[in-house]
Point group: C2
Chain length 282, copies 2
């Protein structure tokens, strides 16, 4: 019998990164999780939609441990989120060998904020033919790109989210200098400001983190709420900068799609996204 003793346990030197701390979820009951949504990812007064989606995806992933990666996730945005407690319900619709489909609702104060449909799988198990028709665009390196100002599009409101990432935009982005180019494409680089490396789940955030490409064809700026966002994560990203291209080709009667492509530091496409948004006119 070994004698009882007091052991000084050295805590591992792994500080929690902002993204992990702010998307942490607590299992509260069967199929129910709770997250503490912070204002650190706000655009103006409300949390970024990709941040809310990432928090929900962490809850979803816990329900299907053999299917860790978000192959395709669709969120419909019902009402603006806010800092504070969020309840995330998750229901497994079907679990297969390769893929699992789940649905989820994010609520705050009893009101639904996001309604989500997702299929998760294991990207490490993907096998089959590859044929890629697109090379990522050549843009100046991050050091020669322009930082995104931490102001909201009204020019006054602080967007806390700007402090969570380092985002460097192609100097050709006319919106940066108040001269929209007329071509609704925004190219740039992005990564977490605190050194956290990207992973599959964080791409759900990054896919919604750049300025709206549609700003390049609007005279003014404004609020362009997301109605629906779908993200396909195609590869687990390598460490380092992410390169992103956001494009809107069809702005019609105030509604627009925005297509996103994100490449990792090796030049591999890791994520495609598409959202349906609208120009909000109060």
């Amino acid at each position: 019998v070994r004698p009882a003793s007091i052991v000084a346990v050295r805590m591992p030197d792994t500080p929690t990164h902002e993204f992990d701390a702010d998307t942490a979820v607590t299992h509260t009951a069967a199929g129910h999780y709770q997250a503490e949504i912070t204002d650190r990812w706000n655009i103006g007064a409300n949390p970024n939609g990709g941040y809310l989606l990432a928090a929900a995806a962490r809850a979803i992933a816990q329900e299907v441990p053999n299917h860790p990666d978000p192959f395709t996730v669709t969120a419909h945005y019902l009402r603006p989120g806010e800092a504070g407690t969020a309840d995330i319900s998750v229901e497994v619709v079907r679990t297969g060998r390769k893929l699992a489909t789940l649905r989820s609702t994010v609520s705050q104060g009893g009101k639904g904020k996001l309604e989500i449909l997702a299929t998760f799988g294991d990207l490490a198990d993907a096998t089959g033919p590859t044929a890629v028709a697109v090379v990522r665009p050549t843009i100046p390196p991050p050091a020669d790109c322009l930082p995104r100002a931490p102001f909201n599009s009204d020019g006054f409101t602080i967007s806390n989210m700007a402090y969570r990432t380092e985002t460097r935009l192609d100097p050709a982005t006319g919106w940066l200098t108040g001269k929209p180019s007329g071509v609704a494409t925004i190219n740039g680089w992005t990564r977490f400001a605190d050194g956290r490396e990207p992973d599959a789940l964080s791409l759900l955030f990054f896919a919604d983190s750049l300025p709206p490409a549609v700003f390049e064809v609007l005279d003014g700026t404004g609020w362009v709420p997301t109605i629906e966002l779908t993200v396909h994560v195609r590869k687990r990203p390598a460490p380092g900068w992410l390169q992103a291209r956001m494009t809107t080709r069809y702005l019609m009667d105030g509604y627009f799609e925005e297509d996103g492509e994100i490449w990792d530091s090796t030049g591999t496409l890791v994520c495609q996204s598409r959202q349906l948004g609208m120009i909000f006119r109060p």
Copy 2:
């Protein structure tokens, strides 16, 4: 007091078109509908995924009469559908002034086939700026394009769906002649074979009705099941031929996206679609 009389009522001469007959739904209980899925829209042994989605959308639309048009609809395909009765449950998640969000499950024999998340609205009410960056591609007129053979990709199985539409593919489509072009784009024209004009709801079917663009970069052919399909209907289409372009840019490890654009006979984009599919290797 008018005398009672027997009046011969002439039935209006409006034959039911195939698409309307085969997507008809019956309200069976609060939030529940029933559809009789036919084999007339089969690809090989199973109903086309867009046809199943359209039937579900008819049920969804009945729940929100003030929001008749499918602005964005996402379906996750859980198991192959089959001819026979389908139960369609519909739950209204949120109804707003402009938009309504709903979820729906299509089941057959107690097994879920499609899980759906949708936002409906009224396209006639859409107002705001327009900026379109894309002109539809110039391809030969329908009379100079090639009909799609009513055979499945194995060359033997009959695809009933081929009789429901007139689909004319750009002669540049290498897959038609067994010589895939290496560029995963398929251009063509399509319309219902029985003269029914396209409407917003039918675009959910048309978005999934062309041959897979990925066939143009595969040596062989095969089954390329849809994991998830999202359709944005952007305008109610004018009568006449629809022009479609389907493109796959990223086939990676057996998974691929397929982006679709559909223009109406006036050259207006009416629909965008994206699906995540996989190359099935038995």
